[in-house]
Amino acid sequence: MNFLNNFQRILRQNIREYGMYIALFVIMAIFTYTTDGIFISPRNISNLLNQTGYIAVLAVGMTLVIVIRHIDLSVGFLAGFLGAVTAIALVQWGLPVYIVIPMVLVLGAIAGLGTAFLVAQLGIPAFVASLAGMLVYRGVLLLSTMGTGTIIIPNEAFNAIGNGYIPDFPDIGILPGKHKLTLLLGLIAIILFVLSEINDRRKKQAYNFEVLPMDIFALKLVFVSLLVGGITWVLSGYNGISWTVVIMLVIVAIYHFITTQTVLGRHIYAIGGNPEAAELSGINVKKLTYVVFGSMGMLAALSGILFTSRLQSATTTAGTLFELDAIAAAYIGGVSAAGGVGKVLGSIIGALVMTSLTSGMNLMGIDSSLQYIVRGAVLVAAVVFDVTTRSRGK
């Protein structure tokens, strides 16, 4: 059986990469079984994705920070604080949404550059610099909500970011009860994916490079298409794709592209692999440290906006432990603490694993004390898997 042999070989070679997807699949299957299918219901999946949003964007930024051998502990409360700023600007200053959002994103980037200044310019270890940031942002969050306590946001446009869904075509009788734009977008995504894969394969063949055997290649296309199709089908049965998911997809697409295709991305990974060699190769390590922390700060702001919008209010405890969830997501997704290794897509899967665990266990009515223990165990298991498959691959 040539096909089976090929399949086994390719699976074994890429076990590290596919491992996470398999793990996510297994976790989802288990919860679907234990909750009699409630877990996989359109409503729950839609909720689950919306909950993942604010951790996922942090995990994307955190991936790059860890890749360049740093860490940022300040992002949780930075997100919380900037969420409060958003609320204050909207409610107390009466600024319009389209001004507030860019302003908060810029503030986030500035905060990130501040951390980068301590790290790159003054040589303070990122752990310490961002720990200080965490304390400070927590303080200013409390300070800014001291007078008012929870700030409720009555702005519909803003709250749609965390709770709204993309619009649909008017009902014309076909596919009743389904969200048609969602289905259309899913279809477009599948077509684009298939075309770009075929195009890529042609180019590689033109250079005489090795490509996947035809049958495996076809299998891969079918599998991914089914996956995307399945998810959009499920989502279209509820309200369709939410704005949070749209934002998450855009961020992932941008960062995935930057890290895998661009000079900037390659330079970032080079710094993580060997900072001295990178510097001598003409890469400005300091500058890129600013870029990475700046982007982290901006994503923290985005996370704060998503969370605040989802709750339709800013609270005094917003952002608590976000940074640790993001770091855990990155590690589950295969980022290496030694630097230079890690993928944005992996971290997103890591974030999905974390929220699936929470969501599934909530549905099962498991006490939160036990939930923490399970999440800790999964984190360790994921990293053990990563480390062992990595050393075997050598």
């Binding site: 490079f209 295709q261 000079v263 390659r266 330079h267 990178a278 190769s281 290794v341």
Partner: protein, 506 residues
């Protein structure tokens, strides 16, 4: 031959895509110095790692007999108990620890559950006397030069009651005095009954010290030669190693030197704030188009510091003096500026400063010039593979694929990747810092040939080297550096080993 203390039979060791050892058999007699030679990637280090248990029993096939018994080491600890000690190509000391802590690291002398520091210091002193190293055992290892660190490694091996001592390219980073020292020590150890296996690319030293020589090529044993009393000549050895004759490893040089000065440095001084002293003082020199200029000197004389200080000063020295490229005054703030001015610097320390070991060959080769294969900041992955493959064949990098991680290559092949990376940056001025360290004769010849070709195309090369024959064989002109100063300049016609050594040590 005496009774063999070690017999390795039919050893086969495979890595994904590479058969590093293909049925190697290897015998070492008791009480001899046995040299192991062969091209880069021939499998020397791998064979020694099999022997010492780094690759445990079961991960290779074949048989190991040591001291008359079949051995199945499952880790380096087992081989140490059997009396085998290995000193790796890269030193494995902890720089922040003291000499005595390092010597007994991993087999601490105990008094009950506690470390017996007094006994440790006393015994460390004895070991240091045995290797004739006169340093305070309480000094930190990082304060010692490489030569002394090497001796500490040997002291460490001796403290484990070693019967068979393996040294993988111990002299690659040593100057001639330190090397000579080390070789004498090995002779003495042999006379005291310690058997030694020595891997080296310095054939002169191999011929001077070996009782027997085994040649490996492409993972196979080619032959074992009896080398006592100068029975083997260098020519013969080279022929066994590379499979063809190389009469003169320095290719014929045409005079390619033009009158145009491409690089001029005037009154250049560098103060190192970390060390709190000047590492370069009032250095002036110039480089003409199409010439190879050798920078000779002892290790630590300031040549690497000189290169780094003009190549964008990434170390952060406080500089004074002037520096011109093609007559234009330059003030580089970052290596990036130097690369833009068409300079390139191939470091002497490829692992720490040159390569990204966790990335693959193609990514390393393109790193310093990624924009060349990028459109609007997007890297063309296919073009990258193509370029990497071109360098793989033109520099003869031995690897199944350019997608192999650089950390998995043999030392010499890593050096070639490091060179390829900077050739791809297409410089006009190429600084080579110890370009052939750890490289086999065949590859040396290739690198010299490439250098010759490059200057014929109008490139200028600064070659920093501690190997005098290489400096004399390749340079058009030689500067001698000593304690951060240029102590002499010799045109090649007037240069001799004696003159250079004299200037380098004054």
């Amino acid at each position: 031959m005496n009774t063999p203390i070690l017999e390795m039979k039919n050893i086969v060791k495979e890595f994904p895509g590479v058969k590093a050892l293909n049925n190697v058999s290897f015998q070492v007699a008791e009480g001899e110095i046995h040299c192991l030679v062969g091209e880069n990637g021939a499998g020397k280090s791998t064979l020694m790692k099999v022997l010492s248990g780094v690759y445990p029993h079961g991960s290779y096939s074949g048989e190991i007999l040591f001291a008359g018994q079949e051995q199945t080491f499952s880790g380096i600890h087992d081989s140490e108990i059997a009396g085998i000690a290995i000193i790796y190509q890269e030193l494995a000391l902890v720089p922040e620890m003291t000499v005595y802590e390092n010597i007994f690291l991993g087999h601490e002398l105990r008094n009950g559950p506690l470390v017996d520091w007094n006994e440790t210091i006393k015994q460390a002193g004895e070991m240091l006397r045995k290797v004739k190293l006169n340093v305070n055992p309480a000094a930190k290892v990082k304060e010692l030069g490489v030569g002394k660190q090497q001796l500490v490694e040997i002291a460490k091996a001796l403290s484990k009651n070693v019967k068979l001592l393996i040294l993988d390219e111990p002299t690659a980073a040593l100057n001639e005095d330190d090397s000579e020292n080390l070789l004498n020590l090995l002779r003495e150890l042999r006379d005291n009954g310690v058997t030694c296996i020595l891997i080296s690319h310095k054939l002169k030293e191999v011929l001077a010290i070996a009782d027997s020589i085994t040649v490996l090529r492409d993972g196979q044993t080619i032959c074992t030669l009896d080398a006592k009393g100068g029975k083997v000549s260098e020519q013969v050895l080279i022929k066994h190693m590379v499979g063809r004759e190389i009469d003169n490893i320095y290719p014929a040089r045409k005079n390619t030197r033009a009158d145009q000065t491409v690089l001029e440095v005037k009154n250049w001084s560098a103060y190192d704030p970390k060390l709190g002293r000047y590492v370069l003082k009032d250095v002036s020199f110039n480089i003409k188009k199409g010439e190879i200029v050798g920078f000779a000197g002892l290790m630590g004389s300031g040549r690497t510091e000189l290169a780094l200080s003009i190549f964008g000063n990434s170390v952060g020295y406080q500089l004074s003096g002037e520096f011109y490229i093609n007559g234009q005054k330059q003030d580089f703030g970052h290596p990036q500026n130097a690369i833009q001015a068409k300079m390139a610097y191939v470091t002497e320390d490829r692992k720490a400063k040159g390569l990204i070991l966790i990335q693959d060959i193609k990514q390393n080769i393109t790193l310093a010039n990624l924009r060349e294969i990028a459109n609007n900041g997007v890297v063309d992955g296919n073009a990258e593979v193509k370029i990497a493959n071109e360098y793989k064949s033109s520099l003869n990098i031995k690897t199944p694929s350019v997608e192999q991680k650089v950390g998995n290559l043999s030392g010499g092949n890593q050096q070639k990747v490091s060179l390829a990376k900077w050739l791809f940056a297409k410089p006009d001025i190429l600084i080579l810092d110890e370009p052939t360290r750890g490289i086999d004769v065949g590859a040396k010849f290739e690198i010299y040939t490439i250098m010759t070709r490059l200057v014929e195309q109008g490139m200028s090369i600064i070659m920093i080297s501690s190997e005098l024959p290489e400096v004399l064989g390749m340079s058009d002109r030689i500067y001698i550096v000593s304690s951060g100063k240029i102590t002499g300049e010799l045109p090649i016609e007037e240069a001799t080993q004696e003159k250079i050594m004299h200037l380098a040590t004054n």
